[in-house]
């Protein structure tokens, strides 16, 4: 993302004290389809840094650790307060948000910080990945309340505090993709446009490939969120149909990695269990309705 760099105290770099440095190792890739390569960077230490501020210094300096001028490292970010879901990457091997990854804590793990792009999505450049499959998952499960229109029809349905407290955590899912990165069943799908293939034809083929792949914990959880909403549940069957189709809930291997890595602590495995029960009931009901 657009990345301003701000040193909290620019004058401090000239002080006589031995300057502490942070060493960073970044897995870079110039464009899709190209080889990835490691590059080392060194950034002066400042108190209270996070990985974003480290990347900001790297972008501003645009030099590798050996002093060689390099193109600035590309990465995604926006809010910097762990609520927009942009800055997911692999930090010291763990999938997490770069903004809330504090350097002091990371340095407890070792002397060098390692940054890699997410491995389950196609790399666009360096740490930027293409997560459109994730958003496609939300379309598939119809993650919305099917209202008639946006005109005034009075208040929404009455909802008990218990129901609200149940729904709210699911609704804080920021589509960061950590749960997908950690999931053994969610494998990378990276179709490449063929020579002479029209953009629309490619988009359609890519969507088909996405749709055959596992939809993932985030989308299952959203399906359960809307299936529990008094109006949202009016199309509950359509969501269950998706969840029982190829790419649906049957692909979950119950590794439970998703819930362990979710930065928002969303009870994803509870949603998956609920989805499993609902899907079974729905399948039985459909059998008898025939």
């Amino acid at each position: 993302m657009i990345a301003p760099a701000h040193s909290s105290d620019p004058s401090s770099s000239g002080s006589g004290e031995e300057q502490r440095a942070i060493r960073v190792r970044i897995l870079r890739q110039d464009a899709p389809g190209q080889e990835s390569y490691w590059e080392r960077h060194v950034v002066p230490y400042e108190p209270n840094m996070n990985v974003i501020s480290v990347l900001q210094r790297i972008a501003a300096g645009a030099r590798a650790a050996d002093g060689r001028p390099v193109a600035p490292v590309a990465w995604d970010c926006n809010c910097l307060e762990e609520v927009c879901g942009s800055c997911t990457m692999l930090i010291n091997g763990a999938t997490r948000m770069a903004c809330s990854a504090l350097v002091d804590r990371l340095l407890e793990d070792g002397e060098e910080i390692e940054l890699r792009p997410m491995s389950k999505f196609p790399v666009v450049r360096d740490l930027v990945v293409d997560r459109r499959r994730l958003f496609r998952g939300l379309e598939k499960v119809k993650a919305w309340v099917p209202v008639d229109d946006s005109y005034d029809h009075g208040a929404g349905p009455r909802i008990s505090p218990e129901e609200q407290e149940d729904a709210y955590p699911l609704s804080t899912c920021m589509s960061c993709g950590c749960c997908l990165e950690a999931c053994p069943q969610y494998v990378k799908i990276e179709p490449v446009r063929r020579d002479g293939e029209a953009p629309e034809a490619f988009a359609e083929r890519r969507q088909g490939a996405f749709d055959r792949g596992f939809v993932g914990a985030h989308a299952i959880s959203q399906a359960m969120l809307f299936n529990s909403h008094p109006t949202g549940k009016m199309i509950a069957d359509e969501r269950l149909e998706t969840l029982t189709a190829p790419g649906g809930i049957q692909m979950c291997g119950n590794a439970q990695n998703c819930v362990a890595v979710c930065p928002k602590g969303i009870p994803l495995t509870r949603s998956i269990a609920r989805a499993g029960r609902s899907a079974t009931l729905w399948a039985i009901k459909r059998l008898f309705d025939r």
């Binding site: 657009i2 307060e81 609520v83 119809k142 309340v145 804080t172």
Partner: protein, 663 residues
Amino acid sequence: MAQPRVLVVGGGLAGLSATMRLAELGVAVDLISLVPVKRSHSVCAQGGINSVNALTRQQGDSEWKHFDDTVYGGDFLQHQPPVKEMADWGPRIIDLMDRLGVPFNRTPEGFRDQRRFGGTLYKRTAFAGATTGQQLLYALDEQVRRHEVAGRVKKWEFWDFLAPVLDGHGRCRGAICQDLVSMQFRSFAADAVILASGGCGLVFGRSTMSMACTGSAISRAYQHGAAYGNGEFIQVHPTAIPGADKLRLMSESARGEGGRVWVPRTPQDPRDPTTIPESERFYFLEDRYPKYKNLVPRDIATREIFDICVNEGLSVERDRPCVYLDLTHIPRQELDRKLHGILEIYEKFQGVDPRSVPMKIFPAVHYSMGGLWVDYQRSAGGGMEEGSPRNHQTTIPGLYAIGECDYQYHGANRLGANSLLSCIFSGLFCASGVIAGGEGASRTAAEEPARLFDSALRREQDRHEALLGRRGGGDNPYAIHQDLGALMTRVATVVRRNDQLAAAYDEVCTLEERWTRSAVSDTGNWTNQNVTFTKSLGDMFPLAKIILKGALLRDECRGAHFKPAFSVPGLSATDPVDRRREAEAWCDRFAANTERWLKSTVARPGADGHPQITYEDIDTSLIPPRPRLYGLVGADLIEEVWRERQASVAEGASRATVAAAAT
């Protein structure tokens, strides 16, 4: 005629609500955004959204009072009809968001719960935990996704708005945009373009705003001739967590739920704050504002916190200004239920649990009340006429602005929890007028000659190539941005002085000059964030100049704009007669200042690169301006004198009417 097409720039609350309403009305929408729309800055809004509601209504509240609080809090610097319309729409908007599935907090009986926010005495604010903005945005994102699946909307995410395309009559017929992945350019023919690009916090370097809030889209519209209103009015939020990369917001809801602001009476008291006894704490907001206490309007809270640290030397820390924001007297369970989201942010980024240790906070740039100048049509009832093409139209016909990037609703200071309302309201409300505006045209934008778009596209391509082709060894754009941010934060935030503002204006010109000599370190044409940033930095200078020049010329104090040289103190006399005389003089001065300065600043781009400033009268026909007296010494007496004067003016007017009728 072909189907009308509208281009919406920005996918926050305003852009998404406009898109949703337009799609519903059968208009094809292209929605472009720097980031996937679900990641827009609206997610950062925490506290809630204001509207009169069933509960407050029975306590004497009304749409009119919400309207009144908004204009009083904004120091009367806004045209009143649009604000009235917004307050009137409030209840309907909350109901709509409720229907869309926003998980608003609930009362035991299942109704929406409300909390109190600054600048009002009513519990008018509906909220969803402490992530209300995120929840509202998601609900709209979901609806727009639904329209997208149905083929009514096409999203262009990771795209940058570069310029409006204007025809020979100066009418906007589309825009030139750039794909930030492939760096390819594309022209969009559109019967209307709606800018919903949010604030411009990055002009100040670090702020509470997201990295996409560069202000580049509105700056580009301005550079193509769109006027800019009230640029100098920048809200500095009283409570943020200082950080190296960003100043993270600590929501006003922390105070709305009972949070107390204090400093130790002993400067830099080294003790653990929880062990400092009550008698040795200075709750300065409660002390100085017994009516609103910790919930005074934001500009006042900000100045008090700034003052207590900078001028009274009572900062909690010696080398870093900050005060305590204390929640530790509230049960943990209640905090988790109502404020979990924001407490988690503090805990994650500071490594300290705010449920057991008071937070350390300081003001930060937060919101731009100013923005693109937009028009409106007054309705017979004193509100805004729905369906008028003038609503939210900039000075460029066919180019509209909504949300934070317009100047319409918040005057000199925005009340907490009013921004989410103004964003959703302006998005929903503008749609019918935007459509009506396109209906008069003899042909659709798609039928315009291709050369109109081709030449505009080539201009942007050439600018881009020129930027990439700058010789190496030039200034580093990130360093220039850092200097710009530090300068703007120093002179154009809480306290403003004319000598500093004048000097800063020259410095900005120098920085702009340095920018023209800066060089990008990445000259490639694939996901080149370096050149995109450098381009947006170039567009920050016109905004910085608008802010500084507007602030320099405005010799008064109003809302967020505070110039100590022009502040009017409260009453000091103790003798009742003298005090009365002082109050009369105070009101004389207030009347004279209102006459001189109750006007919007309107900036237009001058040929010499400097903004040309004019002033626009304000429609204050619904609520006559009155002194904004929060916490002022002698406020009661001043208010009394002012009321008497207003009454005699009204009496004089009615006598004149009777006399006129008699003749």
